[in-house]
């Protein structure tokens, strides 16, 4: 029936000579710069990767003792803690928020884990578990303040930063738990400081932990509905809501996960520092933001790959180590980090302006 009809009214046969191409824009010729811009727009992680490779090469030539498996692995040990914090920070920044409390949460949780095991004699695994729960709890507080009380994330976490810092001093009684005490009573807390060697490289389990966290987050953010929701909220919260995403619930879960990761960082930091010190990592919250920004995640949310911040943390580590080994005064490390931030964001802005 339909066949007959189509033969009777065969209007379309005359179309066979016409232009069959789908409507398209004429490809415009781009210069090398334009091509680069497009390439980077498509794969934003490449910017920090290129910067990392270039800086390793440059310091390898300029700084004595820099380019060895041992030194490069040492840099990884040095950035592992800030790297893990940067993972937590990235989650929040992807939702167009910011978390100023990450370092305070980490130090407070490390004090909680240490005190519970050493002073209160609670079995170490239980103390660690309680620490992780408290970490998620801090995230719950941040998340509820952001979603239910509708405070901007900056204000919320500026407030909780101070609160957690105060609690840190309260819980720790401003005292350090010494390395020797931990060795005797709670060696499990120092697990992530344990070393192993591959060739000339010396790595700690803390470094492995950092890489695992980033890989897991990459999978979750790219391959699960929850992950896509996180990006969607960061890109345009209202649109995400209209599309049926329960934005408040997702946001709270993001802050809780970030708090949980900070608690994991706390455990790892005890291995790194050796002792439980309430005064360590004073600037780590800003360092984590620095790593995220240099790693190419947009502070406006919804854009950037989760792998970027790990590379960003490594870039800062490479600059610090390289400048030190080249015998440069400490103040130039600050100077270099400052320019790295500005250049990273400038490149990010430039890539965003990509045309057609």
């Amino acid at each position: 029936m339909s066949e007959t009809k189509s033969r009777d009214n065969d209007y379309e046969s005359s179309l066979k000579d016409s232009d069959r191409a789908v409507a398209a824009f004429k490809p415009r010729r781009r210069g090398a710069l334009g091509t680069a811009q497009h390439f980077l727009h498509g794969s934003p992680t490449m910017v920090p990767v290129i910067v990392l490779l270039l800086s390793v090469a440059a310091f390898g030539i300029a700084a004595p003792n820099f380019f060895s498996a041992f030194n490069l692995s040492l840099i990884m040990q040095q950035v592992a803690i800030v790297g893990i914090l940067a993972a937590a920070q990235s989650l929040v920044i992807l939702t167009a928020g910011i978390d100023l409390s990450v370092a305070a949460v980490m130090v407070m949780i490390s004090v909680i884990m240490g005190r519970l095991s050493v002073e209160f004699g609670i079995p170490v695994p239980v103390a660690i578990l309680l620490g992780l729960v408290c970490g998620a709890g801090t995230g719950l507080l941040n998340g509820l303040l952001v979603t239910k009380v509708r405070l901007p994330p900056f204000i919320t976490t500026l407030g909780t930063w101070n609160i957690f810092l105060a609690l840190n001093y309260y819980f720790s009684n401003r005292e350090t738990i010494r390395s020797q005490t931990l060795d005797a009573e709670a060696p499990l807390l120092k697990l992530f400081g344990e070393r192993f060697t591959i060739g000339g490289a010396v790595l700690t389990w803390g470094v492995v932990l950092m890489v695992v966290i980033f890989v897991v987050l990459w999978f979750v953010l790219n391959r699960t509905a929850w992950g896509r929701h996180v990006y969607a909220i960061g890109d345009d919260k209202e649109a995400a809501e209209l599309a049926g995403i329960r934005t408040d619930r997702t946001l709270v879960s993001v802050y809780m996960l970030a708090g949980g990761i900070c608690a994991v960082a706390a455990w790892a930091s005890i291995g790194r520092v050796g002792s439980v010190s309430p005064t360590s990592f004073f600037e780590a919250n800003l360092e984590s933001i620095t790593a995220v920004v240099i790693g190419g995640i947009s502070l406006f949310g919804g854009r950037g790959s989760i792998m970027g911040p790990m590379i960003g943390a490594l870039i800062v580590g490479v600059f610090n180590s390289g400048l030190r080994l080249a015998g440069v005064d400490v103040l130039w490390q600050l100077f270099a980090t400052g320019w790295l931030i500005i250049i990273a964001v400038a490149i990010d802005q430039w890539i965003r302006k990509v045309s057609s």
Binding site: Q77, R174, E175, V273, S275, T279, R324, L325, V330
Partner: protein, 342 residues
């Protein structure tokens, strides 16, 4: 209207100005203690010392503290409150040693005795007196001890210096340069860190005075030269961090670590051989002596005189070690533990 406001204002302000001293005269002597923060055990101990002495002498003590190290604004407000409350004397560890001098002058003009504790003001005579640790001497002691302990090997030592911060505040410079002088290094300008050209110096790095910074700085300097065998540290937390780094390089046995402070965890680390020797300072003594001075000043107007040869009152520093050497006075770890703080 304008005139009336002016008159009202004048009456009000003069009433305040007169009321405050009047209040003080009617009651006991009152004093203020203003610290940089109330977080650091050093200042906690200071407050303890002041509170105890004030109770003993019947001095009414009010305490104030900045929110963080460097919180100048809160300290200015605290001095103003003390002036308004008619205090006889103010003890202050200034966060901003130059900027605070303005309001300090105001206090002194009203006849208040101002004593700088631990941290001298700039210039030092901006305060009536300064009660402090001789930080240069503290550095010298550990330098001399390290040199004597190494003996002949001191001539080709490899020295790593773990300082405080890129800003290099005076305590940082004094301890660092004191140590090098004690060790027998030509320190050139004693106001500048890092202008020495002695080949025994591997390098300087900064630690923020905590364990994490100490570890990273030590790692960096070991990368520069793995033969480091003498480590100077700004304080004991930094020393503990340096020890962790040395341990991770498998070098904890062959390296001598020296430090300054005398906090209880630090002295325990001397006991266990993590730190070779540390110079102990006495915050409690600074504060209690300060209160005594204020009580004395209230009685007969005596202003405390600086220690001979120095421009401040030296509250003492002792080398704490269980491996004493000839020619460098020291106290035992046991005594150090009895007198430690924090």
């Amino acid at each position: 209207m304008k005139i009336r406001t002016l008159i009202a204002g004048t009456i009000l302000s003069s009433a305040c100005a007169f009321a405050a001293p009047a209040l003080a005269q009617s009651g006991d002597v009152s004093a203020c203690l203003i610290t940089k923060t109330d977080i650091n055990p050093f200042f906690v101990k200071m407050k303890e010392g002041a509170t105890e002495k004030a109770k003993e002498l019947g001095v009414k003590l009010s305490t104030y503290a900045g929110k963080v190290d460097g919180d100048h604004e809160t300290q200015v407000q605290a001095v103003e409150s003390c002036i308004a409350a008619g205090a006889k004397g103010i003890l202050i560890t200034a966060s901003d040693t130059k900027a605070i001098t303005g309001v300090v002058k105001e206090a002194r003009d009203r006849g208040i005795l101002v004593i700088a504790l631990d941290t001298p003001l700039e210039p030092i005579d901006a305060a009536d007196a300064t009660f402090a640790t001789d930080n240069f001497k503290a550095g010298e002691l550990i330098g001399e001890w390290a040199k004597a302990t190494l003996g002949d090997k001191a001539a080709d030592a490899k020295i790593a210096l773990l300082d405080l911060s890129p800003a290099a505040p005076s305590v940082d410079v004094l301890r660092d340069q004191g140590f090098l002088k004690g060790f027998g290094v030509d320190i050139k300008d004693e106001k500048t860190i890092g202008d020495e050209d002695d080949p025994r110096i591997v390098g300087h790095d900064v630690t923020s005075g905590n364990e994490e910074g100490g570890r990273t700085a030590m790692e960096n300097l070991l990368q520069k030269d793995p033969n480091v065998n003498v480590v100077y540290t700004i304080n004991e937390p930094a020393a503990a961090g340096a020890y962790e780094a040395l341990k991770s390089f498998g070098m904890e046995d062959g390296v001598l670590i020296v430090s300054v402070d005398g906090g209880c965890p630090g002295v325990k680390n001397v006991q266990e051989g993590v730190i070779g020797a540390t110079s102990q300072q006495y915050p409690l003594l600074m504060a209690s002596k300060g209160i005594e001075a204020i009580a004395q000043f209230a009685k007969d107007g005596t202003v405390p005189k600086p220690t001979d040869g120095l421009d401040f009152v030296n509250t003492g520093v002792n080398l704490v070690t269980d491996k004493p050497v000839d020619g460098v006075p020291s106290i035992s770890v046991k005594e150090g533990l009895d007198r430690c703080w924090g």
